[in-house]
């Protein structure tokens, strides 16, 4: 039972690949899905309706649910932080001007 603890939390039951490979697969699937969402101008994953359905399926197949929730939440947070970061950058630039 102990041997398959990693695969039980991920749909991918492949114990021949290393964890690093599994992670890469998930990240790539996530990046493909998020790129599609960016193109559709959707921030909150799951609200895009039927767009990006194929990318979403691959994403859900390759990543654990806890990871999916985490990445989706982080995407929303990153979007929220964008104006703040832009403001910080402008302030920094202004401060540097003599």
């Amino acid at each position: 039972m102990a041997w398959f603890t990693s695969s039980s939390s991920k749909p991918e039951n492949n114990t021949n690949s290393s964890f690093r490979e599994d992670r890469s697969k998930c990240w790539e699937a996530r990046d493909a899905y998020f790129t599609c969402l960016d193109a559709a101008e959707v921030v909150v994953a799951g609200t895009e309706g039927s767009k990006c359905a194929a990318a979403r399926k691959v994403y859900e197949q390759n990543c654990a649910k806890s990871w999916i929730d985490y990445f989706n939440q982080r995407r929303v947070l990153a979007e929220k932080q964008k104006p703040l970061l832009a403001q910080a950058a402008t302030q920094a630039a202004q401060a540097r001007r003599p």
């Binding site: 039972m1 102990a2 041997w3 603890t5 990693s6 039980s8 939390s9 290393s18 964890f19 690093r20 992670r23 998930c26 990240w27 654990a64 649910k65 806890s66 990871w67 985490y70 990445f71």
Partner: protein
């Protein structure tokens, strides 16, 4: 008798003493400054005794930290991206340090997820990183005690089962310990590999200057 010769001698002795004392005071001040900067002053009490098991199934306690510099990262194998990134950073730093000093820095990964991070799981996980990376795990009580000693926050509740799917919230630092097992510094997410290498190098060289050996 107050002769010009006696007066000259007096002035000479006086000025000699004046300059000597000034030099001595300067020297003492520099020494104090050095002591302030040195290892024993102003360091947090992080660390302490712990007993865990390595990914190879061998016992490992705080005593096993002695005689080597250590970089200790707390995380869990089901971590989405932060733990692998930090461990990659740590592994790269150790590889770089190996080039300068040989294998005197010991990278360690301690699990904060006792339910899922079994020894085989840990063994498989650490094989992705530096060849000398040691994975340590223990039961819930041990994990909690070790985290407390290192002031690491972690959110795993006691009742989790191996098949559960959850993420563990935990503080993201790796701790740099000296060959006496004492805490030196902590590196966060914003530290780069270069920062780590430089800090460790500086500490090792200071140690060598004081003790005449690398660890």
């Amino acid at each position: 008798v107050f002769t010009p010769k006696a007066a000259a001698l007096f002035v000479l002795a006086g000025s000699g003493l004046f300059f000597y004392f000034r030099w001595e005071k300067q020297r003492l001040q520099e020494q104090k400054q050095k002591e302030m900067e040195s290892r024993s002053v102003g360091r947090a009490h992080v660390g302490g005794s712990f007993e865990m098991t390595t990914h190879d199934g061998k016992p490992f306690t705080d005593k096993d930290l002695l005689g080597k510099w250590s970089l200790i990262y707390f995380g869990f194998t089901n971590c989405p991206d932060i733990c692998p990134e930090e461990l990659d950073k740590m592994s790269a730093a150790v590889t770089e340090l190996d080039k300068s000093f040989g294998p005197i820095v010991q990278p360690i990964f301690i699990s904060v997820d006792p339910a899922r991070d079994t020894l085989p799981q840990m063994a498989r996980y650490v094989s992705d990183f530096h060849p000398r990376l040691i994975g340590l795990a223990g039961d819930y009580a041990t994990t909690k005690a070790t985290c407390k000693a290192y002031r690491v926050y972690f959110s795993t509740p006691p009742g989790t089962k191996p098949g559960d799917d959850y993420l563990v919230d935990h503080s993201i630092f790796f701790y740099f310990m000296d060959p006496d097992g004492n805490f030196v510094d902590a590196f966060g997410k914003s530290s780069t590999e270069v920062d780590v290498v430089e800090r460790v190098k500086r500490e090792i060289e200071e140690w060598k200057a004081g003790k005449g050996r690398l660890a």
